[in-house]
């Protein structure tokens, strides 16, 4: 949140949290004044603009109250070219972020009706940026004029700015012949850029279309045209945030590489260029540059980032890395997934004899092998974990491109270190608005790195008038046969009634305790902003599949929050914050919606979310009625014991005016109905106790098993609510003298749920049976 400064404060009016859907325009020329209209929902006049944009914002009168907020914006002339977050703060809360682009070229707006080459919009000016939109299967045509041999850069800013558009650009001659076509340009994600040389003097048509002709809610683009410098390669990709470094920019249309200093996590081309800056990684670790022209073996120190580059096709960078036999190490690369490098990194660790120990980056996810690609799948930069082989003191770490490519844009960051079981957490919730007296949620995802146990989410330094609940991420079982994935957790944040309105920067922490007793904490970074992208049809069943939403993690935000005004109502669940459920039994969650808005239509449907819960069913039964109901959770005797959260929510209102109201998370412990205590022995009599969970009263039958030859121990039944058992064994003369391990099998029936159908067995109890002479 340090990047965002509050620029303007005005009176607060509306109750619902504001939502921004678009800006008009999406960018401007620096040093110029313009009218910027924010569009969306619940935009009260006088709301605060929160932005890092170095500009003066003066509110103007809105012609569509609540839906638009016009401002007169004066952008400072020395504003660096780049993208700036803009959000609104109102009494209802803070809005989502949209990105505003500041450039060096004049700007104009697309004139609709330019859907064909014949009706192309004439652009007489150059350089220029056109702000346009693509609605569904739309094509936008522009007519430009060029001289023979003239070079001009055509670039589209869209996805980089949070538009859902995946743009494609084509240039035709006056006869309609396609001269060039460009889609995803290296380093620009799905955005595109081409430097075009006009073959002869005349008019040309420039077409902008969506690569899939998909229909997106956020459908804007910025077509940039002009003669400007741009680079395609950055090296290194990042550096220690406290240390000075020279960064080389090269490629593109630069005649020679240039060296610059990074600024606030960005690398700008010097001079008056129209190019957006490259994001630059800022780390807290020591950093090194790959030795060049050094004949000595390269050494990769632990916990140090090695910045390297695969300079030519087929090149392999090799490093020696010191290890100790039996210890586990992590090797990790940052490359293409960061969006700047073109290196599809392949990591390989070789032993001293050249044996391949482990590799990463050359394997598909298991579900993708011999199956159709899962539409939501995408590759990340590789990492691998390996155990140092016997006798090894060093290994070789090799970095290369998966397909043998190389060049200036094939940079990487490489780190190796001893790896203890670990995990990383990240927020998929970009911000939260906590209603005064109400509840909001934050969703956290976990990437497990050798640690498969429970993870507890919490919020650091939480104010006293805000309570946190939930945040349980149960252990997962990595075994291939019984694989149970648990990588998502939900925290609920509840503000006390009357909690004062204010903004907060919340820090979400994932905590875990390792087997050796070590406690580890990992801080979650937020996505900054999110744009949902409508997915693709196809992939086997022709249904629409999700596409990874756009996120702007480079904003460096954790969890911006605001305590706002009350919501429409409160969802109350009349159970304790932590409940115990016996395997196979049912638990009821009666709920009530307490309206704060007179006359509102009360919700009758409540939706459950049980992150990490397994083998259970939760439904709203048949007691549903407006304003109250009963959610019932059914477990089975196969439901594993453990802890997870139940988050109930309901939706009030309709369409754009709806609001999701949450109840504080309820933590559920699924427990065994009874335990059989290890018996004591008196002669040949075994006696012990049965511990019963509250509510479990059924008879329990205990059957001794694995008895020594010549020993007979009959089954015994412990009656309803009984807690003591005694087993009279008999031993023949052949029975071997001594102490023997036997098993006590216990079975019961459930008092509800699956009662009478399936025996409710628990794991056998090991006991000792002594046979005397």
């Amino acid at each position: 949140m340090t990047r965002i400064a509050i620029l303007f404060l005005a009176s607060l009016a509306s109750a619902a949290p504001p939502v921004l859907t678009s800006l008009e325009p999406w960018g401007a020329q620096r040093g110029k004044a313009l009218t910027l209209t924010l569009k969306g929902q619940y935009l009260p006049e006088g709301a605060k603009i929160v932005s890092t944009l170095p500009a003066v914002f003066t509110p103007l009168a809105s012609e569509a109250a609540g839906k638009t907020l016009p401002y007169l914006v004066e952008i400072k002339p020395d504003t660096p070219v780049g993208l700036y977050p803009v959000r609104i703060q109102s009494p209802g809360g803070i809005s989502n972020i949209l990105l505003f682009s500041v450039g060096t070229f004049p700007e104009m707006k697309e004139k609709e009706g330019n859907d064909s080459a014949e009706t192309a919009q004439k652009l007489s000016q150059t350089p220029l940026i056109v702000n346009g939109t693509l609605k569904s299967a739309d094509r936008d045509f522009y007519e430009v004029y060029g001289k023979a041999g003239e070079k001009r850069v055509f670039e589209i800013e869209a996805r980089r700015m949070g538009s859902a558009i995946d743009p494609s650009l084509r240039i035709y001659d006056s006869a309609g012949k396609l001269l060039t076509r460009v889609e995803d340009t290296a380093g620009l994600g799905v955005d595109c850029r081409v430097e075009f040389t006009f073959p002869k003097e005349g008019t040309y048509k420039v077409e902008v279309r969506e690569a899939r002709f998909s229909d997106q809610a956020s459908n804007f683009y910025r077509l940039k045209m002009g003669s400007y410098a741009y680079a395609t390669a950055v090296y290194p990709l990042g550096w220690n945030r406290l240390k000075d470094v020279d960064v080389e920019l090269s490629g593109g249309n630069l005649p020679a590489p240039v060296t610059v200093k990074p600024l606030d996590g960005m690398v700008h081309l010097p001079g008056s260029t129209a190019s957006l800056p490259f994001p630059f990684v800022q780390s807290d670790l020591p950093e090194m540059l790959e030795p060049v022209n050094d004949a000595r073996p390269r050494y990769l120190p632990a916990n140090t980032v090695m910045n390297g580059r695969i300079r030519k096709a087929g090149e392999i960078d090799r490093y020696s890395f010191s290890v100790q036999e039996g210890k586990t190490y992590l090797v990790e690369a940052e490359a293409r997934a960061g969006g700047v490098s073109q290196l599809d990194a392949l990591l390989t660790v070789y032993g001293i004899n050249g044996d391949r120990i482990e590799s990463a980056g050359d394997k598909p996810p298991k579900q993708a092998v011999n199956a159709f690609i899962v539409a939501g799948d995408y590759s990340r930069d590789p990492y691998l974990v390996f155990e140092a082989p016997k006798g090894a003191t060093q290994v070789t770490v090799a970095v290369e491109d998966l397909n043998g490519a190389g060049g200036a844009a094939h940079a990487y960051r490489l780190i190796a270190r001893e790896q203890k079981p670990d995990f990383e957490v990240s927020l998929s919730t970009p911000y939260v608005n906590i209603p005064s007296g109400g509840t909001a949620i934050a969703v956290v995802n976990v990437e497990r790195r050798g640690y498969n146990g429970d993870i507890r989410l919490t919020v650091k330094d939480l104010p006293k008038d805000i309570a946190v609940a939930g945040g349980t991420i149960p252990a997962e079982i990595p075994d291939i046969d019984t694989r149970q994935v648990s990588r998502r957790g939900v925290l609920t944040l509840t503000a006390k009634a009357g909690a004062p309105a204010r903004t907060l920067d919340l820090t979400v922490i994932g905590e875990a305790k390792l087997e050796d007793g070590t406690r580890i904490e990992r801080r979650a970074l937020g996505p900054g902003m999110q744009t949902n992208i409508r997915g693709s049809f196809g992939f086997v069943d022709s249904s629409r599949r999700a596409i990874r939403p756009f996120e702007a993690t480079w904003l460096g935000l954790a969890l911006p929050a605001m305590v706002g005004t009350e919501s429409n109502g409160v969802l109350e669940v009349k159970v304790p914050g932590r409940v115990r459920i016996i395997q196979g039994m049912r638990y009821d969650f009666p709920w009530t919606f307490v309206s704060k808005t007179p006359g509102m239509q009360l919700p009758s449907v409540v939706t459950p979310d049980t992150p990490g819960g397994r083998d259970l069913r939760i439904s709203d039964g048949n007691k549903r009625q407006p304003g109250k109901g009963l959610m019932t959770m059914n477990t089975t005797i196969g439901t594993p014991t453990g802890t997870f959260d139940v988050i109930l929510s309901t939706r009030t209102g309709m369409g754009m005016n709806d609001e999701v109201v949450y109840a504080p998370a309820i933590t559920v412990d699924v427990v065994q109905g009874y335990d059989v205590g290890v018996p004591k022995q008196d002669g040949l009599k075994l006696f012990g106790t049965i511990r019963r969970e509250d509510g479990f009263s059924a008879p329990v039958t205990i059957t001794p098993d694995a008895l020594p030859l010549g020993v007979v121990c009959p089954s015994v039944e412990v009656g309803e609510n009984g807690t003591q058992y005694a087993i009279e064994c008999q031993a023949s003369k052949e029975a071997p003298v001594g102490e023997h391990m036997i098993l006590l099998n216990a079975a019961s029936i459930l008092p509800q749920g699956e009662k009478g159908k399936v025996p409710y067995k628990i794991a056998p109890v090991e006991a000792k049976l002594r046979i005397g002479k």
């Binding site: 394997k363 693709s536 049809f537």
Partner: protein, 719 residues
Amino acid sequence: MRFLVPLLVTPALLVGAEPLTFLKDVMPVINKAGCTSGPCHGAAKGKNGFKLSLRGYDPEFDYEALLYDLSGRRFNRADPARSLMLAKPTMEVPHGGGLRFEKDSRYYKIILEWLRTGAQFGDPAKDKVVKLEVSKSEFFFEKPGAKEKIRTTAHYADGSTRDVTAEASVTSNTPDIAEVNAESVIETKRKGEAALLVRYEGKFVTVPLTVLNPKQGFTWAALPQYNYVDQLIDAKLKKLHIQPSGLASDAEFLRRVSLDLVGVPPTPKELRAFLAEPGDARTKRARAIDALMKRASFVDHWTVKWGDLLQNSRRYLGDKATWGFREWIRDSIASNKPYDKMVRELLTSRGSAYENPAANYYRVMREPKLSMEKTSQVFLGVRMVCAQCHDHPFEQWTQNQYYQLSAFFAAVGLKPGYETGDEILYLKRDDNIVKHPKTGRTMEPQYLIASIGAPPIPQGGDRREALAEWLTSKNNPFFAKAIVNRMWSYFFGKGIIDPVDDIRASNPPVNEALLTALTKDFVERGFDLHHLIRTIVNSRAYQASIDANEWNEEDHINFSHQAPRRLSAEQLQDALFIATGSRPKFPEVPEDTMAQQLPDPHIGKDGFLDLFGRPQRESACECERRTDLSLPQALNLVNGGDIATAIGDPKGAIAKLITSGVTDRQLIEELYLGALSRVPSPAEYDHAVTFLKKGDSRAARAQDLLWALVNSKGFLFNR
């Protein structure tokens, strides 16, 4: 025992008094008796617990099965005559396959003698058949009703020969022209051409057979020959006493060539301009061909065909990659990329499918065997699928070859790309081998056939590079021939070899000289597809009328006249847009996107296009595109919403014509030109004028007239 041999077997069986061997003597008997046939013990699971290889492709396996399976119960060593392998086929014990030979038959004696003399397997270096020879390389009969025996000689590896007429299998591919009985006697039935397939011990030879038209009075009337295509077709027609048809009219030609080159019929304006153009037919037609091939719609039309073959579909690739792959195909066609280069790019593709759309080729198949099957079928015209389980029954392809060829693709790996929906093709370092399913042996890659200049296959790295070089080589006897044949079929409705993706010795070309010449020309011109297309469509044969004469009316294979072809689904839909003047409005694409500009079968799914046979691109077989006629199609044409909406379009042709105040004759002519690409005959004018005057609404009558035209054969067929 050896002294008994002469008493038991005929001298013919004892060549040089060598002991009989399984390989040379017994296997032919077992095959001829039908024991190894598909319905009997050659079935995938054998029959009643006894399995032999299909048609005896694996003699080692069969030898083991006969002598050692069931603990050797099939071979009674103490008393060979009581062996089960003799008792069963002679029905001494019950046999589900019935009587295969009598006890006193030659076959019985051969097997018995073989058993008695030690049941030797034989030496493959000596006893394997290396070549078959038949009594004639071509059979030519003056008239039906003639008979002639075909004699077959086997040449062995040791240089010896044997008359194997009795055991050889001879079949005719067209029995209603010529039949062959069990004694290898040919009997001709009617005029025409057939191919005889002679098989013996895994070797085969194909022999063409011709029965001339017995009708008297044929006189060859030479027609102009536009290029070598006509020379080679005429040469064969003359020999067969078939008189080719003359040229189609200019109007017929322009409609045909427009549909074949750019996928849509000419507009009335284009047709009028062409008809009014001065000059001889050959010259102006050549000009029209050149002009059509420069159109963007030329690229659209051929993109559909390649999209079918390469199975470009979001079902496999997702929507973005489907659009990208389509652009790659379009670029290849528009730039007239040499065909060998285009195929090399597909076969050796690597990296992101978004960045290198050629990599989408592998995303459809996803595993080595399917990649190999598709590659061989699409680019070589060879169907290898049979050889996955056993050696090909009618071809030279073996099961080993199936896995050896698959091994070229073993290292192809796919992983998700860095953008959702993308995949990256890379070479796997693990799990990158193909094993033989029977032996478990790792199969090293081998070319299907050796060809001159084939590169050595590297031990590691991307072995697809070597495969691509071999496959696209001008010396590869299949590669160029397959595409030439396929392209030919697009202009004549059938290939010179048909089906086009089933090139094999037992399916010979109907005009080998023609196919050879086209292939040679194609290769010499640097695998230039545009040149090939020009050569074909500039021929008189292509431009011939569909009307037959008394000498070619029964010829349907020698290209003596053109044949009407039903328009493809996309052609039909786009022709409807042109005839009715309505605008295409498919979902998920910009307005005015024509049917042939759609990227894949997802758009407009389950609608008009699918009804008329648009393939779902689930296989690379041309056969997936249906051009049949069905009742639902007829009902749709007669009463379907697509036709009615197009004809009744308020901005369509009829609305414009009526509001422009044209006369009845002008209206009628325009509708005929738009729908049928021709002016109406005087009688048609008269009927139509009368019809238009009958009702209150001239527009409604005009709509009915147009409806009738689009329901006529003239509209539905490319003639």
